[in-house]
């Protein structure tokens, strides 16, 4: 054997070895393919014989076919004490994330959410996991599962100590796959955009209000707003007020004709009420003594600011007093304080939730409420370098600055500014007996913005006529108003609060549209 031969042989051998390897590889491939096909076939077969096909699916439309005595537990009640129990619940699919043989869902109900887990097991098939992963976000599902304690807290959910091991999942109402806005984007704090992640601007939110209202922030805002109304009623009823309903379609503009909506009314025209002013005063003249009213108020001002709406909810108070209008001021201020206290005690969770997205300092107030006279306010502003006349009205920036000065000096976000110049108030405002340049009128402020405007009203028809004439008001047009006071009218005072403003300023928000469920402004009439 020569070396060459040897080399040749080994070459041959090497070649045949290579070929053999190739063959083997191909065979292996084929085998694998076959195996896969067998597996697929098996799977397909399994598809046909899905052992958990009764445990998931799309429910027929609920048309009240049957009355199940199934107890649906609210997500907010799922906590450690329910551990290892089997529960049913109805919720939305907030997010879903499939990962191999399991699928994580975040199930949301109002502002609460819990982590759900669909994992392949004794009762759960692969197909079921796949189905769960494919449910569109925001669909409503009925879910049955075991509540299980978790070792590590789930920070992204409101129910941190437990998760739900899902055994059954049915779609009650499917959502379309594409949402006009993402809920997670809509609750992201605007300050935290260092990651460059999306936030949703105000107009997009309002255009798709029903989606935006589902966010934890919106849910909390409107629950708190409901609390404001409830506390307002509770407090006043305890103070022996009665609730009245007044018409909103009126025949004459109550305060000057400029900012009023005119509407056609059969063969004539009518106006939408700018405030229940006339009617609450008429109630006082009709011996109801202490009245309040909660209802819509309309303003046709074409102002596109952060704090003006064309329709808002007015909380109005009117009350007869004995000798001094401060009796009324005290009652109103106390009512507001009771509201603040009530919110603080009952709505802490909501306040914290809103704070997560819109951070603000907690609302501070004093008891009894701080009352400053207008001139004191003006002198505080002058000390801060503001130039203004004694009888000049407060501009919005000055109003805000005064709020900061008061906060710094007295540490309160809520105060009363009393004794406004007569010239800047409506004609029915009672002049100050000691200085006719001023009046028995007052504004109340929260975080430096006006929330209530009120005054002692003139209950003497002659004085009322004189004031109206002096301001150039056509006395004929307000004849019925003046006439109400001709048959004995008690001295009275009152004020009106904007519900949306109270909510906005209590929470330290910056736009009134956030606290109006379906806001109306000069540019928005829908939704």
């Amino acid at each position: 054997m020569t070396k060459e031969q040897g080399a040749g042989i080994s070459e041959d051998q090497a070649q045949s070895k290579k070929a053999a390897k190739k063959l083997q590889k191909e065979a292996e491939k084929a085998a694998k393919k076959a195996e896969k096909q067998v597996k697929l076939a098996a799977e397909n077969q399994a598809d046909e014989q899905d052992f958990s096909k009764d445990r998931y699916g799309i429910l027929p439309m609920i048309q009240s076919q049957e009355k199940l005595d199934r107890v649906l537990v609210h997500v907010k009640n799922l906590s450690e004490d329910k551990a290892d129990q089997m529960v049913w619940l109805r919720s939305r699919v907030h997010t879903s994330r499939a990962k191999g043989k399991q699928c994580f869902l975040v199930l949301r109900q109002q502002q609460f959410n819990i982590q759900g887990l669909v994992a392949v097991g004794d009762h759960v098939s692969k197909q079921m996991v796949k189905f769960a992963a494919n449910i569109n976000k925001e669909s409503i599902v009925d879910v049955e599962g075991y509540v299980r304690k978790v070792n590590q807290k789930i920070e992204s959910c409101s129910q941190r100590d437990v998760e739900l091991h899902i055994e059954k999942i049915f779609v009650v109402s499917a959502a379309e796959p594409r949402l006009p806005l993402q809920l997670d984007d809509a609750v992201r704090p605007e300050t935290g955009d260092e990651e460059g992640r999306a936030t949703v601007n105000q107009d997009t939110r309002l255009d798709n209000r029903i989606i935006d209202l589902r966010t934890t922030t919106s849910q909390s805002i409107f629950r708190l707003q409901s609390g404001v109304c409830q506390l307002f009623r509770e407090t006043l009823i305890k103070k022996e007020f009665i609730e009245v309903q007044t018409p909103k379609i009126i025949s004459a503009a109550s305060e000057g004709g400029a900012n009023v909506f005119t509407m056609s009314y059969f063969k004539t025209s009518a106006y939408l009420a700018q405030s229940p002013q006339l009617y609450k005063q008429m109630c006082i003249c009709a011996d109801f003594d202490k009245v309040f009213c909660v209802g819509p108020v309309f303003r046709a001002e074409d102002s596109n600011t952060h704090r003006h709406l064309t329709e808002f909810v007015g909380l109005d108070i009117e009350m007869a007093f004995n000798y001094h209008y401060h009796e009324v001021v005290t009652e109103i201020a106390d009512t507001l304080v009771q509201i603040f206290k009530g919110l603080r005690d009952r709505n802490q969770i909501e306040i914290e939730t809103v704070c997560k997205q819109f951070p603000s300092e907690p609302f501070k107030f004093l008891e009894p409420t701080l009352r400053l006279e207008y001139l004191e306010g003006v002198s505080m502003l002058r000390e801060a370098g503001v130039e203004m006349g004694d009888e000049e009205d407060l501009s919005t920036p000055n109003e805000k600055l005064l709020g900061r000065l008061v906060k710094e000096k007295y540490d309160t976000d809520f105060y009363i500014l009393d004794k406004y110049p007569l010239a800047v108030r409506p004609f029915y405002t009672m002049p100050d007996p000691h200085d006719p340049k001023y009046s028995n009128s007052y504004d109340m402020f929260m975080r430096g913005e006006e929330i209530l405007s009120g005054a002692q009203r003139i209950h003497d028809p002659q004085v009322l006529t004189d004031r109206a004439l002096k301001l150039g008001i056509d006395v004929e047009k307000i004849k019925s108003y003046i006439d109400s006071f001709r048959f004995g009218a008690p001295p009275h005072a009152g004020g009106g609060i904007g519900l949306e403003r109270v909510t906005m300023l209590y929470l330290g928000l910056h736009n009134i549209r956030q606290t109006s469920m379906f806001p109306r402004d000069p540019k928005r009439l829908t939704p």
Binding site: E361, E383, A384, L401, R404, K407
Partner: protein
Amino acid sequence: MVMAVPAGVELSALEETLGLGLGGGGERRYRQGDGGVPVLQTNNRPDLAGLTTIASHLVKVAKKEELLGTTPEKSAIVQQWLEYRVTHIDQCNTQDDKRTILKDLNCYLKDKVYLAGNNFTLADIMLYNGLHPIVAGLTHEDREKHVNVSRWFNHIQHYPGVRQHSAAVIFMKNRLYPTVH
């Protein structure tokens, strides 16, 4: 362009600040040269042009050279801020420009009493004059946001003789606004 005090008026005020009455050095008259640059006409010497050039000259006439810096380093810093006054502050046109100037100065003044460290110099006077219309137009919130500028400005406006005829700007002693972001 910030509506500043005319340069002639500012220089006359500076004369008073420096204690140059009608006597010392004789009567000085200012006229506007090309492009609004002030020109100082003197009796027996060639005309001097330019706000900071004239200002430095006046300091020497008043024999207060320490206002131009006592060491070479300090002098360089003073010159640098005088330059800043005419190139940046006098040329600022937009809100953005103002904000940038205030932001930069606020940062620079963080660890300083005066522009050139621990000594009062001509730079403080000239920057005070230049910034007056800007600072006077700020809201309290903005003054608080630029707290170092406000501290320096308030200090300089109370420095004997500096303020002259310009209005005092009011600064609040306490913080009004919660930690401004």
